[in-house]
């Protein structure tokens, strides 16, 4: 109120000055400064950036990193709206940093058990008929809650290795038809042009189904962090298989048993055996508001909103509990509801000011229900490391502080 009265007095003073000088007073002396002068010119900057007031909406690493080039950073899910992840906020997981690949020098080689091995420039790839598909990408190490989850974790910490973009490129099936796949080919080795020469074996069925050799995301060419100038994209599969900076595809009659499908990205079970080739990201959801790290200011209406997704297909339903899973209500789903894509859900909620436990569970169109943590750990133990897709609970304390329920 003090500020207001000062402004009023200044206005009166300014009015007096203009009256004395014989000019008519401005009608909106109280208008904010950005209404009383011209704004910045066009193309300042030529490539637009977020408002200076949104500087807190950034990717973050969850833990201090020993090897910054072989690490990850999470998408700030709690600050985003709808289902699309802006390109600058797409999560990162690199095994040897982001290479500065020159597109003029980059090539894609397809060889092995094929009739006609071929090598393509980026210009060659751009000439093929293209497709655009909106899909989520999730790291299989997302949600590190098998062990030692922390109460201060936000959605960015728990679920931030998750993003969703429109990906444009050539269907891999088109390129496979070009080279002529031999009947004995069962697996495709995909290899990147980074300093890890990151490599994974992809089953031939997936290669023919919905795999894309992508060169664009959300309308522009890939960001360097997402594989510029060319990446593989495997909808619904664990993120590391969508090899970035793709330089080579080799058809073979058996998996290639790379380090990233033996030593890493295998799921150790309680009996000491490890599951190998666990590709699919199962149905999962997370409430992004209200969520860990946030503060509810006043009792009354609060919209509960979040994201649901399944590597097997579409989200059929999302249910939300405000009492930690005792009772459930069905959330509304925002269109479009696409297969292997983030789906935005919402539920109106009136907070009474007391404690609450906010939890969601996703059901996909196979009928699979996202399990509670106890059920998941009961089957898989705590050494699996990857593919944690259990229900997430946020604890609202008396007074409105929200934390990760651990």
């Amino acid at each position: 109120m003090a500020g207001f009265s000062v402004t009023r007095r200044r206005g009166i003073l300014a009015g007096a000055v203009t009256l004395l000088s014989g000019q008519r007073a401005g009608a909106q002396e109280d208008a904010p400064p950005w209404m009383r002068q011209q704004g910045s010119p066009v193309t300042s900057p030529p490539y637009g950036v977020p408002s200076k007031f949104e500087q807190n909406v950034i990717r973050r690493a969850r833990v201090a990193v020993k090897f910054p080039s072989a690490s990850s950073s999470g998408t700030p899910l709690q600050d985003l709206h709808g289902i699309i992840t802006p390109n600058g906020l797409h999560y990162e997981r690199h095994h040897a940093g982001v290479p500065g690949v020159d597109p003029a020098e980059h090539r894609l080689l397809i060889h092995g058990l094929v009739d006609r091995p071929l090598i393509f420039t980026i210009d060659d790839i751009l000439r093929f008929p293209s497709v655009s598909q909106i899909h989520f990408l999730e790291c299989s190490g997302n949600t590190p809650e098998f062990r030692d989850p922390k109460p201060d974790w936000t959605p960015q910490d728990t679920h931030g290795l998750l993003s969703c973009c429109e990906w444009t490129g050539v269907p891999l099936s088109t390129l496979l038809a070009e080279v002529g796949v031999q009947p004995s080919a069962r697996w495709v080795l995909a290899e990147g042009a980074d300093a890890a020469a990151m490599s994974r074996s992809v089953p031939i069925e997936k290669a023919w189904d919905d795999a894309i050799v992508a060169y664009a995301q959300n309308g522009e060419r890939l960001r360097p962090e997402q594989g510029y100038p060319l990446r593989l994209f495997l909808p619904g599969f664990e993120g590391n298989m969508s090899i970035k900076w793709l330089r080579r595809l080799k058809l073979g009659d058996q998996p290639f048993q790379t380090r990233e499908e033996t030593s890493k990205y295998t799921d150790l079970m309680p009996d000491g055996k490890a599951r190998q080739f666990t590709f699919i990201m199962e149905a999962k959801s997370v409430i992004t508001r209200p969520a860990g790290g946030q503060q509810l200011r006043d009792p009354g209406f609060h919209e509960i909103t979040g994201l649901a997704w399944s590597g097997r297909g579409r989200i059929r339903r999302v249910e939300v509990s405000t009492d930690g899973g005792t009772s459930w209500r069905t959330a509304s789903l925002q269109e479009p509801v696409l297969p292997k894509c983030l789906t935005r859900f919402r539920l109106p909620w009136t907070w009474d000011g007391g404690p609450a436990a906010l939890r969601s569970r996703a059901i996909d169109d196979t009928g699979y229900v996202q399990p509670p943590r106890e059920a998941l750990v009961d089957v898989r133990g705590i050494n699996s490391g990857y593919h944690f897709n259990a229900q997430q609970t946020w604890q609202v304390a008396q007074g409105g502080a929200v934390s990760n329920a651990v």
Partner: protein, 178 residues
């Protein structure tokens, strides 16, 4: 008559590739030369396919590891900044399992493939094939999988029986949680 033949010829072409349809094959890209394939064809499979000529001994590997790998992995592969490479046998059911080349990796070929493509971390693809054989031999000897006088090559590397060779399950048993 000449006109009719032209029309017939055009119709025949259009029957093969109508203007609004996708051709059976595009003409983009070119056939790679042997050299172009060889420059990128670095993968080594579990059956040894892809292993290059050359050899390396445990003794040679000890020196290479001390010079290039020890800062991150320790001079005995015990792990420092980065992964432990040695030991952990019998721990895979434990509360804190120790997953190393010896206790966890199912194939020795994967060790060769990974070192050749991605190590050392500060200078990937800088080791010669002989050096990769040697450092692989030393890491396997530290795990008690090879004797101290072993020399690795393309013939004997794929025959190494890794302790956890049968420790992996596929296909994927999920959905497994109800």
């Amino acid at each position: 008559m000449r006109f009719d033949r032209l029309v017939l010829a055009a119709a025949a072409v259009m029957a093969i590739v109508p203007a609004n349809a996708e051709p059976r094959h595009y003409t983009f890209g070119h056939t790679p030369t042997e050299a172009e394939i060889a420059a990128e064809n670095i993968d080594v499979r579990a059956d040894g396919k892809g292993l290059p000529p050359g050899q390396g001994s445990v003794t040679q590997g000890r020196d290479i590891l001390a010079q290039t790998c020890a800062p991150c992995h320790g001079d005995k592969g015990q792990g420092l900044l980065s992964d432990r490479l040695v030991g952990g046998f019998g721990t895979l059911k434990d509360h804190n399992p120790v997953r190393t080349v010896g206790s966890y990796w199912p194939y020795a070929t994967t060790l060769f493939d990974y070192v050749r493509r991605a190590m050392p971390f500060n200078a990937p693809q800088s080791l010669t094939d002989d050096q990769v054989y040697a450092v692989s031999a030393y890491v396997l000897s530290l795990n008690g999988i090879l004797p101290d006088d072993a020399v690795l090559n393309a013939a004997n590397l794929p025959k190494i029986a890794m302790p956890n060779r049968n420790g992996f399950i596929s296909p994927d048993p999920r959905p497994d949680v109800r």
